[in-house]
Assembly symmetry: C2
Homo-oligomer: 207 residues x 2
C-alpha cells in the first residue's frame, strides 16, 4: 500500500483540504468574505484552527484556488483561439475581456479577489499570477510581431499598461454599488482608447 496506491493518510489530507475549501466558499457566498471568520470556517469544516493554518498559511490563500481554476480556463481559451490562426488586436482584446465575465458571475467573490490582487497579497512568484502574466505577455509579443501593436516598445511595458487599465476597470466596476453599465463594454471602450491613443486624432485619419 506504500507505493502506487495513495495511503489513507494522503486521502484524509486531501479530503480535509477539500472540505475546508468547499465550506469556505459556501460561507463566503452566503455571508460575504469579510463576515466569514476563520473560526466560522473551522467550525463548519470541523477542524481546529491550527489545522486550517496548516493548509492555508493565510485566510487569503484560499483564493489562490479560485485563481487556479480561472487561469486554467484562460489558458485553454487562448490556446484555442490561437488555433484559428494568429490573432488581431480586436480578437485578442475580446478574448481577454471575456475572462472578466467571472467577475460578473460572482461579484462578491470577485470583489475580494480584485482587492487582494491590488494589495499584492497574491505573491507574484505565485503560480497563478505567473501564468496569467505569461499569457498576456505572449499574446502581446505576438500582436507586435503581426504589426498590430507598436513593435518599438518593450512588450512588458505594453503589457503592464494594458493590465493596469484592465484591472482598474474591473475594480471600478466592482466598487460601483449597482453598476449601470456592462463590465465588458467598459473594458472594450477603455482598452481601445488606450491602444488608439488619447491624443487628438490627426485630421487626416478620420476615425
Amino acid at each position: 500500500m506504500t507505493e502506487l496506491e495513495v495511503s489513507r493518510r494522503e486521502r484524509k489530507k486531501e479530503e480535509t483540504k477539500e472540505r475546508i475549501l468547499r465550506v469556505s466558499f459556501e460561507l463566503f457566498r452566503k455571508h460575504g468574505v469579510e463576515a466569514t471568520t476563520v473560526d466560522h470556517i473551522c467550525e463548519a469544516a470541523d477542524v481546529a484552527k491550527g489545522t486550517f493554518f496548516n493548509y492555508f498559511p493565510h485566510k487569503e490563500e484560499l483564493f489562490g484556488y479560485l485563481g487556479e481554476v480561472w487561469v486554467d480556463e484562460a489558458e485553454r481559451r487562448v490556446a484555442e483561439a490561437l488555433e484559428h490562426g494568429p490573432p488581431t488586436w480586436a480578437q485578442a482584446r475580446d478574448t481577454f475581456i471575456e475572462f472578466a465575465g467571472y467577475y460578473e458571475e460572482d461579484r462578491n467573490l470577485g470583489k475580494y479577489m480584485a482587492q487582494e490582487w491590488s494589495r499584492g497579497r497574491f505573491d507574484p512568484a505565485d503560480e497563478v499570477c505567473r501564468r496569467w502574466d505569461e499569457l498576456g505577455k505572449r499574446v502581446i509579443v505576438l500582436l507586435q510581431s503581426r504589426g498590430e501593436l507598436r513593435a518599438d516598445v518593450d512588450p512588458a511595458l505594453i503589457h503592464r499598461i494594458l493590465g493596469d487599465v484592465y484591472h482598474d476597470t474591473i475594480v471600478m466596476w466592482l466598487e460601483s454599488p449597482e453598476p449601470p453599465f456592462s463590465l465588458q463594454d467598459e473594458l472594450r471602450r477603455r482598452l481601445t482608447l488606450v491602444v488608439e491613443g488619447l491624443a487628438r486624432r490627426k485630421p487626416k485619419e478620420g476615425r
Copy 2:
C-alpha cells in the same frame, strides 16, 4: 475667554492631536509603518488608546494629513503653472510627474500611502481625494479644449486611464526593492505611450 481667544480646552486638543501625529510619523520613519502599532504610538505620545481613536478613527487616517500637505502643494503648483498661459500636454504631464517626487523622497511612507490608496482605504468622499481628482480633471478638460487631447471622449474616462497608469507606475516603482530607474522618467515614458497610443504607428506620420 469664551470668544475670540482659543480656550485652554481647544489648545490642549490641538496639542494632543499634533503630538500624536508627530510621534506617529517619527515612529513610522524609524521602524516602518507596519511595525509601528497603535499601542506604540499611544505609549510614545502618552495618551490612552481610546484617545488615539478619538482623534483618528482608523490608524490609516493618519495618512490623510500627509495627503493634505501634498494636495495643497499640488494645487498651488498647478495654479502657478496656469498663470503662464494654457498648458500643453507635455507641460501638464511634467507638472504632475513632479508631484511624484514625494514618493522618491520617502519611500517607506510612500509605499504605505500608495498601498492604502490601492486598497481604497482613503475614502473617495475624502477631501484630499476629491481635491486631487478635481485637479486632474480640470487640467484634462483644459487640454481637451486646447486640442491637446481627444475631445470626443469623456474627460472622466481619460482622467481615469491616465490615473491608472500614473498610480500603477508608482506602485511598481515602490515595490521594486532597489529601483534601477527613475520614477519620473518611467512616468514620462508610460504616460507618453498611452497618449500616443499603443497601436502601430501609421507609416505616414513619422514620430
